[in-house]
Symmetry: C2
Subunit: 248 residues, 2 copies
């Protein structure tokens, strides 16, 4: 029996919605989730506004096993993720003693003043668990199934690496790709038939447009390797049959 | 008085959530919306599953002035956007006569058979209006405030160009950027004060991490150019003051 574990991602930040910053975290999380066997089922991007964050956190944490957020945990006035996530859980947002100690130590070592602004980064919902930040010390945090991480890609990736060993993973969705020199209009009907013949697979067809003509990347996904192989072969034979036909 | 027009985007496709395809449309739409004066307020990415698409379309079209979707309007079995959007509106999904005629003509000219599979691309909710596709003919469509477009970036961009002149736009959010050589921990407090002093601006602070140290991009946004300039100058003076202080 294959085990399915779902996840959602919440990207927080005006700068993504204005186009000023191009997100680099969605693709990374998607790759990592696929690699470990967790199904990323939804992503939302919302602005730095508390009601928007609260609504999204509550919708996603109820619907999916894990939620991963990026952005808004820095020290400035527009970093409101800790407050918003606390509000979503109905918990007070407090200075975390362990985080304060860690950061005080790190700033002291670097000869940097541990200002009130910097202390803001130690705030999290009461009862949250740290997510270590090997890059710049100020930790992310987990509260229940919600993992709150940084938006700076280097820090997000490092935090995610620390989160991964704590996650329950499912049966990996295996995939096989068949290159198809034809457009979707040619292969649509036989491909739909193969999808019907192999109900335990997910067959995707991704049109590519290059130099004025279409080709297609056909991707077969299944949690069982034998099923995958049989469906892959069926897709390959379909492409061969059309090639023979069209050159006849 | 500044006029605010909001929008949301819905990206449809398993391939984005699995990481196989890296989205290139979110950043483009964000840039274009900012350029014309429409506030992109939310983005969602959902899989090729009808209930997920229906729920997202209905949530977004009720909350925002415009909705733009990408993906799932090709001819294969996993292209279910036309059906799902029809279902969201409670409308039948029908073959559109004008789309069929356009496509029949185009395929005839290119000597390609107009198969039943290709005809699938002419399906849309009853009463939908075409969005012209100068790249590969099969049109997108608009139904009420929802614009349904292709996921292939070249086609999405061309369709969006055709949609833009039909949109009501708001007062543009102008922006000015101030480079700041200090991390957020140093500037947080004075920057929050400037935000308080200029309530009609949105001041964002975007930490950049390079070669082991932080610098910050400070972005002031306002719909009024004088307000923008006054706030920008305040931010600039803040950075100068800290520079003088730290080299003293």
């Amino acid at each position: 029996m294959s085990k399915i574990i779902t996840a959602a991602m919440l990207v927080i930040g005006d700068e993504i919605l204005s186009g000023r910053t191009k997100d680099r975290n969605i693709g990374h999380l998607a790759d990592v989730m696929t690699a470990v066997g967790i199904d990323l089922k939804e992503v939302r991007i919302v602005p730095d506004e508390e009601p928007a964050i609260v609504n999204a956190v509550n919708a996603l944490r109820a619907a999916y096993r894990y939620v991963f957020t990026t952005g808004g945990i820095g020290p400035t006035h527009d970093d409101i993720t800790a407050d918003a996530v606390s509000a979503a859980f109905g918990l007070p947002c407090e200075y975390d003693e362990k985080a304060l100690a860690l950061m005080a130590q790190s700033y002291a070592r670097r000869g940097i003043e541990f200002t009130d602004t910097r202390k803001r980064m130690a705030r999290m919902p009461k009862g949250a668990v740290h997510i270590d930040n090997p890059v710049s010390v100020a930790p992310g945090f987990r509260i229940e199934n919600v993992h709150v991480m940084a938006g700076v890609p280097e820090i997000f990736q490092a935090m995610l690496d620390n989160v991964l060993p704590t996650l329950e993973t499912g049966t990996k969705l295996l995939s096989a790709t068949v290159h198809c020199p034809f457009g979707e209009g040619t292969i649509g009907l036989p491909l739909a038939q193969i999808q019907k013949d192999f109900p335990d697979t997910i067959i995707g067809s991704y049109p590519k447009f290059q130099e004025g003509s279409f080709w297609t990347e056909l991707v077969v996904r299944a949690r069982d390797s034998e099923t995958l192989e049989r469906a892959r072969r069926a897709v390959e034979e379909m492409v061969k049959a059309i090639t023979t036909e069209s050159s006849a």
